[in-house]
Symmetry: C2
Subunit: 326 residues, 2 copies
């Protein structure tokens, strides 16, 4: 099924069930009020929500209304834990080659970054940042959302806790990122608010494209309406289950925790491009010996969308504009 | 006033108003149900809660009952953002000298670490971790809690958003910490759940000990009932306002965000000791040329407590035991 969160002026919004083709929606509120409550009570609400979803798809619900991605918040407007992985090693390899970085990685251990989760942005909100010299960048990613997951869980068991899949633009400020990476303590000014696609979907919505704990679909990225890249999510070097198991080694994860894939990246970059500017700039340097790609300017627009094997948009599109913070 | 969260089996618990001497408590529920709701509606609830607190202190409330720190959760059992600073540069300096670390710091920029906030532990819960070889360690710290705070705020303005002060034991797994520090992306396995003291207090409860955005009180740390250290919180090289302003450069902070001070640390360590084992071990190495202090073993107990200028316990004590995770 597909779920979204209507912006009704509250911090957690109001849960919507959205039709498979993303044209219609209904309130879920006879079952549960918000996305976080749904995840906290998944065993109870999953079935009635699924029924409502099926009836919506069949055109049987009189209280259905047109779904408007401009009126939704992030599917989870806030949550209690957000960790972003860097599960496409190709991205890191390109960055290290171009910028002569010496990132000490332990083979077999995924790189994860703890992130803030109190202020996620919706798919059509303007994206504010203070100044262009911060070198704003995007990162097209997939993410999963889990329910309560105990410490010490295996990758295989962890995968069973994945209840929803989303897309996101993990915005970065590269000027701060390189400085903060050198300090060793992770990202603060490098990572302002994260932007999520309109709907979250249960893994079954992805059909055969959800396998091996990976989403085998292209992340379609456009900059100012022009193709920028369409790398495939199947190239993760670590599955979401593996990432979750590493994370949960000595911590419990609570319902609503979001785990990102890291920038989708492909070794076949000459054909499929990239999902972030820093990687494209690194490739510029490797390919041409110079940067040919600018970081983001105010007024620029970005879009991120993923199409299923049936050609249908799975999550709806993130379509937003960069603006100067007031 | 002093506030705590009763463990009533729910994820957010039930808000209690606690008497100044920590002996009595009353439900706050005629005013507001939970700590997070209180912070989200601080302007509305602050005054009625304060009145209830005053009546409780005056012995006027018939529905008061004995306050039991064994029955409370962390004051905020979970929240949407937790950032830990390393605002006592002395701690970092000792660590770098002893372990020959090359941490690239920018002078004038506080070191902050983004942390998970979905699974905080209460002051008397056993602390589980998988194995002793992870080199478990404690860090006695102060923390502040803010209400909604906009992007780009000054240190002076940020300080006005500090609504509550708490103490915490920021548990660390040092084996993972050194590895993860080398990777640059912050802490994952190095930082399991954080443990908070029984009550959160408004800054006015600290009297003159709250000044310059710092808590000028000793953090009393005991290991297995024996004195380990009592460094003073006033030695922060960055005030909480400065830390908050740096953090909010390009992000909004939402109500309930927690910001830790980092391990309380003093240059006068020969007299006042330390608030963490790693620092004591570093000092062992500097002083004696060898480590004389073990990391934590299962079965060991720790306590953290802070006394006001009147000799009264301000936050109540964290008193907990290390156990093997099941």
């Amino acid at each position: 099924m597909k779920l979204a969160t209507l912006n009704n002026g509250t911090r957690d919004g109001r849960l919507l069930v959205v039709s498979r083709d993303l044209t219609q929606a209904v309130y879920a509120s006879t079952i549960v009020d918000t996305m976080i409550e749904a995840l906290e009570n998944w065993e109870t609400v999953q079935e009635p929500l699924q029924h409502r979803y099926e009836h919506l798809n069949e055109g049987m619900l009189k209280d259905a209304f047109a779904f408007d991605p401009a009126k939704v918040m992030a599917p989870l407007p806030r949550c209690y834990q957000f960790v972003d992985a860097s599960a496409f090693l190709n991205h890191g390899n390109i960055m290290e080659e171009a910028f002569d970085l010496d990132v000490k990685k332990d083979k077999g251990i995924p790189v994860l970054v703890q992130r803030q989760s109190d202020d996620f942005l919706g798919p059509r909100e303007d994206y504010p940042f203070p100044c262009e010299e911060d070198n704003g960048d995007f990162e097209g990613e997939f993410a999963v959302v889990v329910d309560d997951m105990p410490m010490g869980i295996s990758a295989k068991e962890a995968e069973k806790h994945i209840k929803l899949v989303m897309i996101l633009n993990d915005m970065s400020m590269r000027t701060h990122l390189f400085r903060e990476l050198g300090m060793g303590f992770g990202f603060i000014n490098a990572k302002p608010a994260t932007v999520f696609g309109p709907v979250a979907v249960t893994p079954d919505e992805l059909g055969d494209s959800w396998r091996d704990g990976r989403i085998h679909l292209d992340m379609q990225v456009k900059r100012n309406g022009e193709w920028f890249g369409n790398p495939n999510g199947g190239g993760m070097d670590f599955s979401f289950g593996q990432v979750l198991s590493h994370l949960a080694y000595n911590r419990n994860l609570k319902a609503g925790a979001i785990i990102g894939s890291g920038t989708v990246s492909s070794t076949d970059w000459k054909t499929v491009g990239s999902a972030c500017l820093a990687e494209r700039r690194a490739l510029d340097k490797i390919e041409f010996g110079e940067f040919r790609t600018d970081f983001l300017h105010f007024g620029e627009s970005l879009s991120f969308e993923v199409f299923g094997e049936d050609g249908q948009s799975v999550f709806g599109a993130i379509e937003h504009k960069m603006v100067k913070a007031q």
